[in-house]
Every structure is written in structure tokens, then in C-alpha cells.
């Protein structure tokens, strides 16, 4: 395969040599994705990667004008392919899980899980219980419902941002901003109680 400079890639993908350039790009993307996804995809790796590469090529051709030339063209193209692949892998992985599934049930009683931890120091355990109650109250009272849902789905449920975003009828950027505001609010609420996040972390260290 011929090696191309960034401008050669752009020219070839836009010009009469498009077919050859696309085939070359396909090889590059496929090799990269096979390498990086082999530990994540156990079955039909090649078929799935072929699909991702096909989608990625369409997107790359569509977005050629947005390439700013700040990296090698192939790095930029691989980035697009990785995004396409992960979007689809995450969709598959989380397709049967709703936000409600990830919300901790509100049992009403304050028997924090920390009590089950084998912490040898009763004083430390008491502090942990108090802090757990405080943070649960903070989530309930100081955050909006959307902030709380997003925070719990991501931090406790482990759901990826864009999967949460789709379920909340928003997009990844807007959800990131919402979480950013939620974190700032929590920092503020802690400060009002005379605490820093570092002090809380320390209280939970074994």
C-alpha cells in the first residue's frame, strides 16, 4: 500500500482515485480495530469490525472538511472508527437495561452497606455511617432529579455517558455539562458542612 501525506489522503479521497484510497483506508482501519478490539469482542470479531469500518468510512467521507490537520490523517480516521465501534458496542451491551434498573431502591432505612464492611474501628465505622447518610441526603435534596439520575446511572450503575444521554433525551455534551454542574453543587454542599471531598475519601479508606 502506498503511504500518503495528509493532503494526499484528502486529495485522493476527494478525487478520481477515490476507490483506491477508500480501499487503502479500509485496510488501515481494519487492522487497527482488529488489534484494539480483539480483547473486547469474543465472537465474530472480523464481521463486526468490517461493519464498523464500513460505517466509519461513510462518516469520514462525510466529515472530511472538519479534519483540521492537527494529527496524521490516519490517526484522525482511526479516532472516528473507534467512536463508531464503541457507540455500537455500548448500544449492544446496554440495550436491555433501563435507567430505573440502575437506581438504588429507596428502602427508607439507613442501614448503610458500610456496616457490613469488616472495618475494625467502631469510631471510623460510625463516621462512615454519618457521612453516607449525609451524601445520600445531599443527592436527594441538593441535586435536581436529572442530575441525581445521571450521577447514579454513571457513578453507581457504570452506564456510559451516551447511553444515559439517549435515555434522558439529551446528548453526550449536554449530559457532561449537567454532571459538571452536579459535581460543583456537591462540592459546594460539602463546603457548607465544612468538609472537602478529600476528607470524605479519607474517612472511607480502610
Amino acid at each position: 500500500m502506498q503511504t500518503r501525506t495528509n493532503s494526499e489522503w484528502l486529495n485522493d479521497l476527494r478525487g478520481p482515485d477515490q476507490d483506491q484510497a477508500i480501499e487503502d483506508l479500509r485496510k488501515v482501519l481494519k487492522r487497527g480495530l482488529i488489534y484494539s478490539l480483539s480483547s473486547r469482542i469474543k465472537t465474530d470479531l472480523e464481521t463486526q469490525v468490517d461493519d464498523f469500518v464500513q460505517d466509519a468510512i461513510l462518516r469520514i467521507l462525510d466529515k472530511l472538511d472538519t479534519f483540521r490537520g492537527e494529527s496524521r490523517f490516519t490517526t484522525w480516521a482511526q479516532k472516528v472508527a473507534v467512536r463508531v465501534a464503541f457507540t455500537e458496542l455500548r448500544r449492544q451491551r446496554w440495550k436491555d437495561i433501563s435507567l430505573e434498573d440502575l437506581m438504588p431502591e429507596d428502602s427508607g432505612d439507613f442501614t448503610p452497606l458500610v456496616l457490613a464492611d469488616p472495618s475494625p474501628n467502631p469510631e471510623k465505622r460510625a463516621t462512615q455511617t454519618i457521612m453516607t447518610e449525609m451524601i445520600e441526603t445531599m443527592l436527594k435534596e441538593d441535586l435536581t432529579e436529572r442530575q441525581r439520575t445521571a450521577m447514579l446511572a454513571i457513578m453507581k450503575g457504570g452506564m456510559p455517558l451516551e447511553e444515559v444521554a439517549r435515555r434522558m433525551d439529551t446528548n453526550r455534551n449536554a449530559l457532561y455539562k449537567l454532571l459538571h454542574d452536579a459535581r460543583k453543587q456537591m462540592r459546594e454542599s460539602l463546603l457548607e458542612k465544612g468538609l472537602t471531598p478529600g476528607e470524605v475519601i479519607e474517612a472511607f479508606e480502610i
Binding site: R31, G32, L33, I34, Y35, S36, L37, R68, E70, S71, R72, T75, W76, Q78, K79, A81, V82, R83, A85, F86, R90, P104, E105, D106, S107, P112, L113, V114, D117, Q128, M131, T132, I135, E136, L139, K140, M151, I154, M155, K156, G158, P160, L161, E162, R172, N173, Y176, K177, H180, R183, K184, M186, R187, L190, T196, P197, G198, V200, I201, F204
Partner: protein
Amino acid sequence: MKLSSEDIQKMMEAVKMTREHELDCGHCYDEIDQFVEMELSGKNAAEVMPLVQQHLDLCGACREEYQALLDTLKAFID
């Protein structure tokens, strides 16, 4: 609600890393190819592009894609 000590620590780590100004996922995506190349060439990308590093520290989804992009490019380094 039932938060484990692990949930709380995770949440507090995120609160601790919070800054007034942060990049959103879109801006991180715009810069990540440059960031990764810098890293692969042995430069301190985190120092040159601290806002990208900060976003990666806070955003699991972008961090996962960044690691995969690094792996992807390693396929071409022999």
C-alpha cells in the same frame, strides 16, 4: 438509598477533580488524536494539554475510547 463506600469514594474522587472550567466530550474528541500522537511520540501530553487530561480523568466513556485509540495505533508500531 444504598450507597456503598466504593460508590461514595468514586463520587468524591470526581467531586475532588472538579474544576470551574472543563472541556466537554465534544471538545475532548476534537483534540484527542493530537493528544494520543503526542503521547506515542514520548511527549508529556498531559502537561501540554491539561484540559484534555482532566476530561479523561473524569469521563469514563472518553477514557475508554482514548485507550482504544492508543491500542489501535499500536497496531502500526512494530
